[in-house]
Symmetry: C2
Subunit: 78 residues, 2 copies
């Protein structure tokens, strides 16, 4: 059975960069990746908070929350 | 040809959690994953900074740096 990976975001430029790079790099053979837009699907907020998600973008792997900060992208500053 | 993923860390508990979960979840069919301990391999510091790495743990995917913060692990607080 595949493990569950949930990528929570809110459509921000940083979120989109993280989704296109990090979330899409997750091994599809081992993980079932779900992408949740918390801005448009607020019914999932409580679930995200339950995993310890404090900010977006965040990736929950096997129930553990990893907060992602995209550091130094010039494009995000424009 | 595989893309390059570099996971920079420094042996901290948060780094180890991120390595065991996030770095190991990267698709090995598409990415060649290298793990670099910046504490013991300081010769790689300049390279990491060149990718925009400001803190560890960080994952560089296709040259883009993602800083990872593991949020709410109780074990890290003990």
């Amino acid at each position: 059975m595949k493990s569950k990976a949930i990528f929570y975001h809110a459509g921000c430029p940083v979120c989109i960069a993280a989704e296109q790079n990090l979330a899409s790099a997750i091994d599809p053979a081992r993980y079932e990746v779900e992408v949740v837009h918390l801005g448009s699907d607020r019914s999932r907020l409580e679930e995200a908070e339950g995993f310890g998600v404090k900010s977006v973008p965040a990736l929950v792997l096997d129930g553990a929350a990893f907060h992602i900060n995209f550091g130094a992208g010039i494009d995000a500053l424009r």
